[in-house]
Amino acid sequence: MTGLFNYIPRQSPIHAMTGAAKLVCMLTWTMAAMITFDTRYLLLLTLSALVLFRVSGIKFREVKVLIAFSAVFMVLNNVLIYLFAPEYGVELYGARTELVHFIGRYGITAQQLLYHANVILKYTVTIPMVLLFVSTTQPSEFAASLNRIGVSYRIAYSVSLALRYIPDILKEYHDISQAQQARGVELTSKENLFKRLKNASAILLPLILSSLERIEVVSTAMELRCFGKRSKRTWYRAQAFAAGDYAIMAAGGALVCISFLLIYLNGGRLWNPFV
């Protein structure tokens, strides 16, 4: 479990904050980044995210696999965008400054470059923050945090249950899959696609039936221990808010406000230096 979400224990001001405050901050930060298309603001947020990352004491190499994964995705996405719409930036910014011309519709325009910069910045703003949340918050605190920010404790507990049973279900999947492979179930390219899908159901059926059984047992166990008795519940792993927590939640809210303010100032979501 501890390995699943890359929680990295450390002494840092960010680790010390409550999960709920960090969750709010992560969500508002992401929202601010979704709303705006002001390149300057995105750049500022990216730099701030990197500073926060530094403060948390998390080392680059500890998250490099995740970053590499996101980077590949980001590059692919940009390539796809370019292939499909090399003139999309021109369309968006309403101006065309060609820098290089390759062939046919493909070339490099300043507008397209700026647009790609925006797309990349959208990633670089959010990824460090999500990583930061995941690496500095114990999964145990997720559920309590969700409840704290207003999600019903019943739904919050579902999240906790999901985290609890992921390792068990993964192990069960492996066990079932190995036993079925021994019987001759083949999921690799040796079989045609249709057969492979059919074979997969030979693994999934026992998995789903045993999960249904698990649902019965777990709900019985929870009921016998009085889950759902009252309209609220307390949390062993919850933390009380401190001044710093209120501060970062307020800061998160302010970021969203700035995004809206920029829409007003720029006369649209886009910041357009070409007009």
Binding site: S140, R164, A179, R183, I203, P206, C226, K229
Partner: protein
Amino acid sequence: MPEELIKFSHFGFQYNAQAAPTLYDIDLTVHAGEKILIAGPSGCGKSTLAHCINGLIPFNYPGTATGSLTIRGKETREMNIFDISKVVGTVLQDLDGQFIGLTVGEDIAFALENDEVPQDEMRRRVRETAERVTIADHLDHAPDELSGGQKQRVSMAGIMVDDVDVFLFDEPLANLDPATGKRAIEIIDQIQKDTGAAVLIIEHRLEDVLWRDVDRIVLMGEGRILADLAPDELLCGGYLAEHGIREPLYLTALRYAGVTVTPDMLPHSIRTLRLSEAQKRQVRAWHQAQRPAPPPAPQPPVLQARDIDFCYDNGFHALKGITTDIHRGELMAIVGTNGAGKSTFSKVVCGFEKPQRGTLTLDGQDMAGLSIKERADRIGYVMQNPNQMISKAFIFDEVAFGLRLRGVPEDEVKARVEETLRICGLYPMRNWPVSAVSYGQKKRVTIAAILVLEPQILILDEPTAGQDFKHYTEIMEFLRSLHDQGITVVMITHDMHLMLEYAQRAVVFSGGQIIADDTSANILTSPDIIARANLKETSLYDLALCCGIGEPGAFVQRFIDHDREVRGQ
């Protein structure tokens, strides 16, 4: 007279979905501070009785109750499940299902969280309770970092934290190795003494529960209470054999030796049992009179493992230089605790995991190049839980699945499947849905589905886990009949009875190494091996010592041979 906590009078219960009642005319009273063992074969109604006590009946399982059931003087039908939970705490058999929290501390705190206990008080109570079951050093551990015994202690703590008056344990020994089970019984005893709560233990492994004293044994059968007696009286009454419960082995041995057991001999435990000199002589005489069975003729090895080393990705070094032979036509057991390497070894043999070092040969041929599927044609692997293997709705299709995947023509599939179903006694049910048959029959279906591929070796992981004596015997006799037909059978287990009664030979794993390879009787009478492998001495060993028999291993072996003869008749 202590308070009457639970009182059944003329109580009966019928599930809505069933045609006949499951419980008839139950009269049972549980007083504060009592410790009661409830025993009975599968389907006798003991689980239903437990559900009535903890409130799952009638609140979760609808049905009709007759008569009266009161908890602390109140009719349960007038209470709700939360009120009942404040009096009765239940520890379920499925330890992973009961462990709901992400860590030990959270799980123990679960009931307190639901009661909105403030955090400071909650932390204090969690720590205190964790200390009482000696798990306080693990408060931040996740369930997959704990052993079965530790998980069970967390479950107990999660109930204790709420100060209940009755602890209800549903088959507490089912998922534990023998030594851990013994310790669990000790902890339950300790909890009862410390808290003064009443304890109800539902379990069919009588001898193991009696490791610590109980006040009464309630024996159930076909929905009724057949006996409600002090252990010493119940054990002398001949009730057990009659109702499909295994009696303690030392009592069976005394019976064979012609010793009549009476309650004043305190037969409830081998530690308290009093034998007169004359009775001891009787046992010794029986021992002398038994002819030792000749050891089986040595057979050539079929599977040879040489210096196998395996390390998981997470760095866990599971197998360290394993060298062993499995002989043709053998019926043998691989034993050891969880994490000792026995399951990993079977995974390596089946090709699920690739060893970093060492060789495996089958009939002299190196297996390194064989895929999982190719190995499976010659070595069959049967998982512990049949529900994890069954992937077709109907019995015939389930057994035919492996052949069809191998592209065998349909007429041959039919012939082979039908023949296998006949061997397994499933032929008359061939067109039934798998869901219509019992757990034991499902187990047979999964074995049939592997046998149809005609493997030379059959590996079974805990073939009898969670089965009562009757089903245990049924499954094991079936495996023995397969063995008699020449199939090599390897069983991975920590059931000592299974090992003693059925395995000619046992290989003991501990910490990734083989620490013993001998007859089961010799292994279960060597204190050193027993301690290292988390096993437990068989009570026959203590009996042999108590009667002054100098060769306990031989005594155990003769008992087993004789017992087999008697049961075979």
